[in-house]
Structure formats: structure tokens, C-alpha cells
């Protein structure tokens, strides 16, 4: 490879990259917090007994699931202002678009979790005269969140990576800043590789935690479903040891 690396462009611009990374993390956290809260009512509307309400919630979810995030971002940044007469700054547009998108996916994860809670557990709450909100708050949501935790974490990791799209509407996130430095220095390889590494350093530990949670849940499910399956391997090992001695 006939390429002379020059990492000085990275070291000299590292404070800018770090600051941009801070912006990326800030956007991610705001979007995740908003989406996790907004997805609860959306999931409940999606399960409403009123058909029109259910359809409206489903329509929202399908629009955001079936169109590219970039299109949604551009639509809010470029199309909404002429329609409404209100100019929305890039940062706010980014947060609105990413939140609207993540909320749609998160609501479906919640709905799946809500519906997985056995009906008789909810009826037991009803028989103890807990009202609907108390049933949701104390019986349904804790179990649904726990069950859907891997999906929720996976969505959050994805949205963290997807924040890179906000660079297209001039929000000074990590991708925007890295791209700018690369253009200024003509050192795309070094700068963009560093940016990729910075995304990886944040996302990889989260991914490891996700894997650990999934393993724990799998073991927990096994433990909960039958104690015999846990005992059998030990008995088998003990049997082999007995045979060999």
C-alpha cells in the first residue's frame, strides 16, 4: 500500500473530535430517554380496544418503520418549516426525527412485552382491585421491560450509531466534525478511522452488556422452566466420574 499515514491530524484535532463525541452522546441520551417514555403511551394506544385509536397508533408506527430515517430527518428539517412556517434548528430537528423514529420501534417492543405478560397475572391484579393504571405500572411494565430488555438495548445501540445521519443537516456531531476535519486535511482515512473507533468504543461495551443480559435471561428462563434440566448435567457428570473411578 503506497499511503503515508499522518496521525498528527488526529492528535491535533482530537479535542474537536471529543467535543463532537459529547454532542453525539448528548443527542443519544435525550432521544433514548424521550423515546422510552413516549413509547409507553404509544404501545398502550396500539393495544386500545377502540379501533380508530389502535389504527392511528399503528399508522404512526408503520410510517416510521417503513420509511428511511434519513428521509424522516430531511422531512422534518426541510419540509416541516415551509408547511408550518416555523423554522426548526438542526439540533432540534435531529432530536425530533430520531425520537419519533425510535419511539415507533420501542413501542412495538413494549407492546410485545406487554402482551407476553400472562393474562391471568393481570386478572389476579384486577381481583385484588388494582385499577388499570396500577396493573400497568406494577404488573405489566416491570415484566415487559425486563423481558424486552435485549430488544430495547439493541434499539438503543442502533440509534446511537444512527445519530451519524444528523451530520447531513449540519449538526456538529462526531460524524459531521470528522467529515469536516477530513475535508480540511485531506486525511479521510486517519480521521474517519478514528471516528469509527470512537463509535466502536462506546457501542462495543454496550453490546457486551447486551450479550451478558441475554445469557442471564436464557439461564434464568431455564431455571424457571424446569429445575431438572439444571440437575441432569450434574448427575451426568457425577455418573461419568463414578464410572471412571
Amino acid at each position: 500500500m503506497d499511503y503515508n499515514f499522518d496521525w498528527s491530524v488526529v492528535t491535533s484535532n482530537f479535542p474537536r473530535l471529543l467535543e463532537a463525541m459529547g454532542m453525539t452522546i448528548q443527542i443519544t441520551i435525550i432521544v433514548i430517554v424521550l423515546s422510552m417514555a413516549l413509547a409507553v403511551p404509544l404501545a398502550l394506544l396500539r393495544m386500545s380496544k377502540i379501533e380508530v385509536v389502535r389504527w392511528a397508533a399503528q399508522l404512526y408506527i408503520e410510517i416510521f418503520r417503513c420509511t428511511p430515517l434519513l428521509v424522516q430527518l430531511f422531512w422534518i428539517y426541510y419540509v416541516l418549516p415551509p408547511l408550518t412556517g416555523i423554522t426548526i434548528p438542526g439540533m432540534l430537528s435531529a432530536i425530533i426525527a430520531l425520537t419519533a423514529n425510535l419511539t415507533a420501534f420501542m413501542a412495538e417492543a413494549y407492546r410485545s412485552g406487554f402482551q407476553a405478560v400472562p393474562e391471568e397475572q393481570v386478572e389476579a391484579g384486577e381481583m385484588l382491585r388494582l385499577n388499570r393504571w396500577q396493573q400497568i405500572r406494577h404488573i405489566i411494565i416491570p415484566q415487559a421491560l425486563r423481558q424486552q430488555l435485549p430488544v430495547i438495548m439493541s434499539l438503543n445501540i442502533s440509534i446511537f450509531k444512527d445519530t451519524a445521519l444528523v451530520s447531513t443537516i449540519a449538526v456538529a456531531d462526531l460524524m459531521f466534525t470528522a467529515n469536516k476535519i477530513a475535508s480540511e486535511s485531506y486525511r479521510a482515512l486517519e480521521v474517519l478511522s478514528t471516528a469509527a473507533l470512537m463509535y466502536f468504543i462506546i457501542a462495543f461495551p454496550a453490546s457486551l452488556v447486551l450479550s451478558k443480559i441475554e445469557r442471564n435471561m436464557l439461564e434464568g428462563n431455564k431455571k424457571g422452566s424446569t429445575k431438572k434440566t439444571l440437575l441432569r448435567p450434574k448427575l451426568a457428570v457425577a455418573g461419568k466420574m463414578g464410572a471412571s473411578s
Binding site: P118, G125, E126, L128, R129, Q143, R146
Partner: protein
């Protein structure tokens, strides 16, 4: 009743009618699951309900519990009309906390320990303080022989233990009536006997009216005061266990008892 008694305020005396249902009808689509069902429960009595699957037993319990509204008929609870003309009346909201139900599947909430399973509803609905609710939980668990398991998680308990905790949870609301829908179906016979023994003590010591859907004929013959046989959505026989097991003329009941007795 003892000082630790959890079920009090029963205005209907032991042996008096606590619940009276008349002319209950219920259909799910084209299938009629209850036809003109008249059913009484007496304070301090155990009524065992038997019948084939789909004969209407569970629907009756759910109707009495307020989980399923009948299409027609009326229900009185402790002398007050709680269901008439296809609707729950305002009186239902005053008395419904006295109705407890235990289900076939283990309905303890798995994300909470036993204590929190027990205290959630009393704290939220009866306004008990944390210490009051804990005291009541300890007494309720002692009643069902589970006092040592206050901090256990449901996953750490056996099926029989979970059902006993479910009974304790229902007792926390001081029910006058317990509806038990096949609560021992998934249990081994000795474990089922332990759970049913708890019900018998609750009837004798607390005067709770108990309706129990079960196929345990030994329990029915020993502990039940009344035995109700459902057949195709109707109450075909409503009598004493002795009469039902030894002198019934009803061919369907004879066949059913012979089929499940051994």
C-alpha cells in the same frame, strides 16, 4: 374468630346465604356456556363445582368474580344487588374487595418477592402503611403455612407453595368469598391435598365462603358442604356430596364421578 383473623365484617352469619345468583346466561359467539344458572353460596361453606371442560364452571366463577359479565341474570352479594339487567351496579364497587379469586396457573408476580406480592394491593387499595401491610402479610402467610417465605421469590417456590402464597395474597384483602378455579390441577396429589387443607381451615376458622372447581373427589366427599355438577352450561345437580356420590339418579353425574374417582 381469633385476633389474627383476616376475614371479618361478614354480615351474613355462618350458614346464611352470602351470594345468590339467579338466571345467569352467557354466550361466547354462537356458543352458550351458561344457561339459566341459579347458584347460592353460604358463609362458611365449601361448594365444590364439578363438570367436564367447557361445561360452564369457570364462567360461573368469573361471573361471580366480576371478570366476565353475564348476558342476563342477577347476582346479590351479602344482600346487595351487584349485577342486574346485564350490568354491574354501583354496589359492586363497595363489595368487590371482599371477593377473592385464585387461578389454576400460578399468578404470583414473578418480579416481586412474596412480601411485595402480598402488600401491593392492600397498600394501594386499602391505604395500609408499610408496617401494617407487612404485619398483615406475616399473618396471612402464617395462616397458609408459609411464614418462612416472606422474602422468597416466586421462582424459588414449588407449585403448591405458590398456590398457598396466592391464597395468602387473596386473604390480604379480607375476602368474604374465595373463588378457586382448578387451583390444584397442576399439582401432585399430596401437594394438592395440602393446598385444599388450607381452604378447609379457612372455611372452618374464618367462615369464608369458598367455591372450588376441582376434580378431587376425595376432597369433595370429605370437605364440601355442597356439590354442584355442571353439564352443557346448566347446573344438572346441586346437592350434598354424599347424595351426589352415593344416591344420584343423574346418569351424567354417575358417569363423570366414575371417570374421575379413580
Amino acid at each position: 374468630m381469633s385476633e389474627t383473623s383476616l376475614a371479618h365484617n361478614i354480615s351474613a352469619g355462618i350458614g346464611e346465604v352470602l351470594v345468590s345468583a339467579r338466571g345467569l346466561e352467557k354466550s361466547f359467539g354462537p356458543i352458550q356456556v351458561m344457561r339459566n344458572v341459579d347458584f347460592d353460596m353460604h358463609a362458611g361453606d365449601i361448594t365444590v363445582i364439578i363438570g367436564k371442560s367447557g361445561s360452564g364452571k369457570s364462567t360461573l366463577l368469573r361471573a361471580l368474580a366480576g371478570l366476565t359479565d353475564p348476558d342476563q341474570g342477577s347476582i346479590e352479594f351479602d344482600g346487595q344487588s351487584v349485577f342486574e339487567n346485564g350490568k354491574r351496579t354501583a354496589a359492586w364497587n363497595k363489595v368487590n374487595s371482599h371477593v377473592g379469586m385464585i387461578f389454576q396457573s400460578y399468578t404470583l408476580w414473578p418480579h416481586m418477592d412474596v412480601l411485595n406480592n402480598l402488600v401491593l394491593a392492600p397498600r394501594k387499595k386499602l391505604g395500609l402503611s408499610a408496617s401494617e401491610a407487612k404485619d398483615r402479610a406475616e399473618k396471612a402467610l402464617a395462616e397458609v403455612g408459609m411464614a418462612r417465605h416472606l422474602r422468597s421469590k416466586p421462582i424459588q417456590l414449588s407449585g403448591g407453595e405458590r398456590q398457598r402464597v396466592a391464597i395468602a395474597r387473596a386473604l390480604m384483602m379480607q375476602p368474604k368469598m374465595l373463588l378457586c378455579d382448578e387451583i390444584t390441577s397442576a399439582l401432585d396429589p399430596p401437594v394438592a391435598a395440602e393446598v385444599l387443607d388450607v381452604l378447609r381451615r379457612l372455611k372452618e376458622e374464618e367462615g369464608i365462603a369458598i367455591a372450588l372447581v376441582t376434580h378431587d373427589m376425595a376432597f369433595a366427599s370429605k370437605a364440601a358442604d355442597r356439590l354442584v355438577f355442571f353439564h352443557e352450561g346448566e347446573i344438572a345437580v346441586n346437592t350434598t356430596p354424599d347424595e351426589a356420590f352415593n344416591r344420584t339418579e343423574n346418569e351424567e353425574l354417575k358417569k363423570f364421578v366414575d371417570a374421575v374417582r379413580f
